[in-house]
């Protein structure tokens, strides 16, 4: 449980240390990619808690979602439509749903363990 958190912190530290900056016009893509990745991560945690976790689904979903979101944003820029908003909306909604499910599962676990 602590390992993913450690990974997150390590990733942040590496990112800060390498001092990489991407051009401002690409920050849109990166932000949506982050959103997609977060969505996948929470989806994975939820699946894990619901015991329907599948490695292939998780890993493929992670990269596929990132690519899809970035390409959607790219398409939106070239069509002149803010298509990335669609991705933001979809991922945002799913993020909230996943977190809600995780919270409920954790709550039930906690209450059931408290009853015991």
């Amino acid at each position: 449980m602590w390992l993913p958190l450690m990974g997150l912190i390590i990733g942040v530290i590496i990112g800060l240390l390498t001092d990489i900056r991407i051009p401002a016009e690409y920050s849109n893509y990166l932000s949506i990619a982050i959103l997609a990745a977060l969505d996948t991560l929470f989806g994975g945690i939820r699946a894990q808690l619901q015991n329907i976790y599948d490695e292939k689904v998780f890993v493929s979903g992670f990269f596929f979602n990132i690519l899809l979101a970035a390409s959607l944003a790219f398409l939106g820029v070239h069509l002149g439509v803010d298509l990335y908003l669609a991705a933001v909306f979809a991922f945002g909604v799913r993020l909230f749903q996943n977190i809600a499910v995780i919270r409920r599962i954790l709550l039930t676990k906690w209450t059931s363990s408290g009853e015991k």
């Binding site: 993913p4 997150l8 990112g15 990166l30 990745a37 894990q48 490695e55």
Partner: protein, 243 residues
């Protein structure tokens, strides 16, 4: 929780962390403090102004080009026609013209007693003779009492009044303006008219013609009424004309 699962989660989380860090760094650019002194600021201002003037010049160039294009378009379509129309109008006497020439004033003669002879009548034939004389000696544009004389002008008696294109010539003095090709010709015309027998003929009708010295700039008004041509049709090419 299997260890393989944890590894995946860890890798994913670290990737996310990496991306978040990059995004964070990109979005929050460090604030650079402005430490330029007055002279550096002045230099910067100078260079910016140079850029501004360059840009303004560019705008000027483009506007010039635009104006040129518009001009060209107008030229190609309408200007030639307009020019031709103006030339034709000029030729027909529809436009005001000015140039060197002389003016003739027709007044009643003052008789021996010192009173003006009240006779405001100029016979059409006399006027026509005067016109012929003027045309013979190089008159280019003529107006009689501010009435432009063109090729279709009629001078005739209607009732007892001499009329030129419907305008009555019953109020003396009458001013005849003549424009010639150039000042030299105006001079020549003036000399010719000084010794012209027509002036004598006017005397017989109790009128006298006063000649003004050649002037550099005389303005003659254009013909005001529309020119009506009833009995005229274009000649066939090579039949009527000399083509």
């Amino acid at each position: 929780m299997g260890s393989q699962k944890n590894v995946y989660f860890t890798i994913t989380a670290s990737i996310i962390g990496f991306m978040v860090a990059i995004q964070f760094q990109t979005v929050s650019e460090p604030v650079v403090r402005d430490t330029r002194d007055t002279w550096e600021l002045r230099n910067d201002l100078m260079s910016e102004k140079e850029i501004e003037s360059e840009l303004l010049q560019e705008i000027q160039t483009f506007e010039d080009t635009l104006a040129k294009y518009e001009d060209e378009r107008e030229q190609s379509k309408g200007k030639l026609l307009k020019e031709t129309l103006n030339e034709l109008k000029n030729e027909a006497g529809m436009t005001d013209v000015s140039g060197p020439g002389i003016t003739l004033t027709i007044r009643p003669i003052i008789n021996e007693i010192g009173r003006e002879v009240q006779m405001a009548y100029i016979s059409p034939s006399l006027l026509q003779r005067l016109l012929n004389e003027l045309n013979m000696y190089g008159a280019k544009y003529v107006s009689i009492d501010e009435q432009r004389v063109i090729s279709t002008t009629v001078i005739r008696d209607i009732g007892t009044v001499t009329k030129i294109d419907g305008h009555s010539l019953n109020r003396l003095p009458i001013v005849i303006k003549v424009i010639t090709e150039d000042e030299e010709k105006a001079e020549r015309l003036f000399k010719r008219m000084e010794i012209s027998p027509v002036v004598e003929d006017f005397n017989m009708d109790s009128l006298k013609v006063e000649l003004s010295n050649p002037e550099e700039n005389i303005t003659i008004p254009g013909y005001k009424d529309p020119i009506r041509i009833r009995y005229m049709e274009p000649a066939d090419n090579g039949v009527g004309g000399d083509g």
